[in-house]
Symmetry: C2
C-alpha cells in the first residue's frame, strides 16, 4: 500500500495497516481452505471459530463478568435505538434519557415510538451532566445515555449513576474498546463497529442476563436480544465478513496492549490537538467544556467561520482528509479512533499552528479588512 | 488463488474468481485514493457512486419500471419477514400467505406477530401450487410467497396470481438476479445478497411507490421502507463493504450477458444434475415434483439414507463441499447460484454416477446384506 492519507472521518474510519494487510493476505484463501471468507458458510467450524474468538476477546478486553452475554446484531445504531426499548420496557413502563447531543436525542425520539420517556437531562451539546444536573425516575425501566456524542464531541469521564434497581444503558458506538470500562455498572452496553473496531454492518450488545426475556410477544424475532442469546448470535445468517474484520481488530487491540494502551494513545492524540487549539484561541473556538471533551471526536470551529472551506481544503492538500464537522452542525471535527496513528494527530496539530500563523499574520497586515472580499 | 474447491453451500456461497480478484486488486487502495473501501465514509462521492451504480444496474438488469424504488437494508431475510407486514398491513388488515416450505412458513409465523394472516396454500415442501390450488382473500393487504424455497428446493416457474388490487410480495432471496422477472406483476420483491449477488449483511427491496408510507407511526425508523426511500438507502451508515461487493457482482452479471444468460446457465447446471439423478432412481430419491424443481437448490436423498455421511465424505475428498441438506430436513442439497461454474455441476454429476456405480455393484455382489453392519 502507498503512503496513506490521514482519514479523520467520524466512521466508517481508518483501520490499522496491519489489519488491512491481514485481510489481503488471508481472506481470499481462508485457513488454506481455498474458500475465501467472503464465501464462508455461517454453520462452518471456521466461522464458529471467528465468532467465538471475537466474543472471547471482547470478554477478555473489557473483563466482562460471567452474568453478561455478548451479542452481535446488524442494523447499526439506529436499529439499537428501537431494540433497546423493545427489549427493556416492561408493560406500561417509562424510561429515563440523558440527552447530551444528537445521538442521545435521536435515541430518545425513537423510544417514544415504543413507550413513555422521561428526560433526565436536556443538554445543549456542550457538556456531560454533573451528578447534580440529571434526575432519573426511580421507577424507570432503564436510564439511557450516550457515552460519547460523535457529532458534538462530548464524552463522559465516568458513567452517570442510575438509582438502585434501574439498569444503566450506554451507547458506546464511538468509544467502545477505547478504554477500560467497569461493565458491572451497566445493564446494557451497545456499540456499532465502524468507528473503533471494524466496518459498518455490525453492532455488539453486552447485556446482563437478567434483562433478557422481557420483550413483548409482538417484538419481531430479529429485534429480540433473547433470540441472539439463545442462538449464539446466529438466529439467521450473520454479517460474516464484518464479524471477521471485527475479530481481526479485537486481536490487533489486544496485541497492541489492550484497553489501557488504547486509552493512553487516545489521551495523547486528543491532548496534542486540544492544547494546540487552546493556545490559539484567537483563531479557533472550542464549544465543549474542558471536562467533557471527547478523546475520540475533537470538535472545534474557526473564529472566522467563513474560512472553514479554505481551512478544510488546505488540510486536504496536506493529506488530512474528512475533517468537516457533521452536516447538522458544520464546523470542524477530527475523529481519532483506535486506528489513528499518533503521527496523524501530530500532523493535524502542525497544520493548526501553520494555519493560525498565516491567519494572524494576515490579520496583522490588514487589520481593518481581514478576509474582506 | 489456488485451484478452488467447488462450494455447493446454500449461502453464503461461491463467488466468481473474477470478483474476488477485483476486490483484492482495488478494495485496498480505492480509486487510487489510498483510502480502502473498508474505510470509505458513507457520505463520500466514492460511496455514492458505488451505491448509485448498484441501484442503476439492478434497474437495468430487471427492467424495473419507473414507479418502483430499489432500497437496500440490513438484517437479512428474517428481518424482512417482519418489515413486510410492518409496512404493508393496513389498519386491521389481513394478509394471505402461500406456504411451500420452511421460508414461507417462517415468514408467515413472523407476520402473525404483527397482524392477522390467512393461509392461501399449505404445501408439504414438494411443489409450488398450481393456480387452482391456492386461494387468496380478495381483501388481503398482500399475497406473500417465496419464489424459491432454499431448504426444500421448490421453485415457482411463474409467480402466483393475486386478485386485482392485492399486491403480490415475493421473497426471491435465493433466486434473485438468476432469471428475468416481470417486476410490474409485483408490489414488492425482496432478496438477501449472500446467495446470488454478494455477501451476508445486505438485502435489496424493490417496492412499488404507492406501497410506501403505509407503516404505522410506531414502526421503528429502520423498519420503515419510506425512510430508506427518502434517504436513498442511507438513513444511517449502510453496510458499505457488502454494497461494494454486490455492485461488483451486479457488474459481473451484466458483463457475462445479463439475466437471460444467468437463466441459461442455471438451467444447464441444474438439468445435468437432475437428469443424472433421474437416471439413477435405484440410488437417489427426488422429493420435489418435476415441474417445481429448483434451478438453484437441487435437493435429493439417498435411497439408503444411512449412507448419507459416506456420500458427503466421498464428495468432500473430490473437492465438492457443503453438500449436506439443511439441518432441519437432512439429505443432500447442491446449491447452484449464479457464481457456480458449469464445471462444478459436471463434477458433481460425475461423482453421482461414480457413487451410484459403486453402490449398485456392492448391492449386486451381496444382495442380502447390502450395507449390513
Amino acid at each position: 500500500m502507498r503512503e496513506r492519507l490521514i482519514n479523520f472521518g467520524a466512521g466508517p474510519a481508518m483501520m490499522p495497516e496491519a489489519v488491512l494487510r491481514r485481510i489481503r493476505e488471508e481472506a481470499f484463501d481462508y485457513c488454506g481452505s481455498t474458500v475465501s471468507v467472503f464465501e464462508l458458510g455461517h454453520r462452518t467450524p471456521e466461522f464458529e471459530a471467528i465468532l467465538g474468538g471475537l466474543r472471547d476477546r471482547i470478554r477478555r478486553l473489557l473483563a466482562v463478568p460471567k452474568d453478561y452475554d455478548i451479542l452481535f446484531c446488524q442494523g447499526g445504531g439506529r436499529l439499537q435505538f428501537a431494540m433497546v426499548p423493545m427489549n427493556l420496557f416492561g408493560a406500561g413502563a417509562i424510561a429515563s434519557y440523558i440527552v447530551t447531543g444528537s445521538w442521545s436525542r435521536n435515541a430518545q425520539r425513537e423510544a417514544l415510538r415504543i413507550g413513555r420517556v422521561q428526560t433526565a437531562f436536556a443538554g445543549n451539546g456542550t457538556h456531560a451532566p454533573r451528578p447534580d444536573e440529571y434526575e432519573c425516575l426511580p421507577e424507570a425501566a432503564y436510564l439511557y445515555y450516550c457515552d460519547n456524542e460523535t457529532v458534538h464531541g462530548v464524552e463522559f469521564r465516568d458513567p452517570p449513576k442510575a438509582p438502585e434497581r434501574v439498569p444503566l444503558v450506554a451507547d458506546m458506538s464511538s468509544n467502545f474498546l477505547s478504554r477500560p470500562v467497569d461493565v458491572s455498572r451497566f445493564g446494557l452496553i451497545w456499540a456499532c463497529a465502524q468507528k473503533n473496531f471494524g466496518i459498518a454492518g455490525l453492532s455488539v450488545v453486552i447485556i446482563r442476563r437478567d434483562l433478557l426475556g422481557l420483550a413483548a410477544p409482538n417484538v419481531p424475532t430479529l429485534m429480540n436480544f433473547s433470540v441472539y442469546s439463545r442462538t449464539g448470535s446466529t438466529p439467521n445468517t450473520p454479517p460474516i465478513f464484518a464479524i471477521y474484520v471485527a475479530a481481526l481488530m479485537a486481536e490487533w487491540i489486544e496485541a497492541e496492549g489492550g484497553l489501557e494502551e488504547m486509552n493512553s494513545r487516545a489521551l495523547a492524540r486528543s491532548s496534542i490537538i486540544y492544547s494546540t487549539l487552546d493556545e490559539l484561541r484567537d483563531v479557533y473556538a472550542l464549544p465543549v467544556e474542558p471536562e467533557s471533551r471527547s478523546r475520540m471526536n475533537v470538535v472545534f470551529r474557526l473564529a472566522d467561520e467563513e474560512a472553514t472551506g479554505e481551512f478544510l481544503a488546505g488540510a486536504a492538500r496536506r493529506g488530512l482528509i474528512n475533517l468537516a464537522g457533521h452536516r447538522s452542525v458544520g464546523g470542524i471535527r477530527a475523529s481519532l479512533y483506535n486506528s489513528m496513528p499518533m503521527k496523524g494527530a501530530e500532523r493535524l496539530a502542525e497544520y493548526l499552528r501553520e494555519y493560525a500563523g498565516r491567519t494572524l499574520a494576515r490579520k496583522r497586515s490588514s487589520p481593518a479588512q481581514s478576509r474582506g472580499r
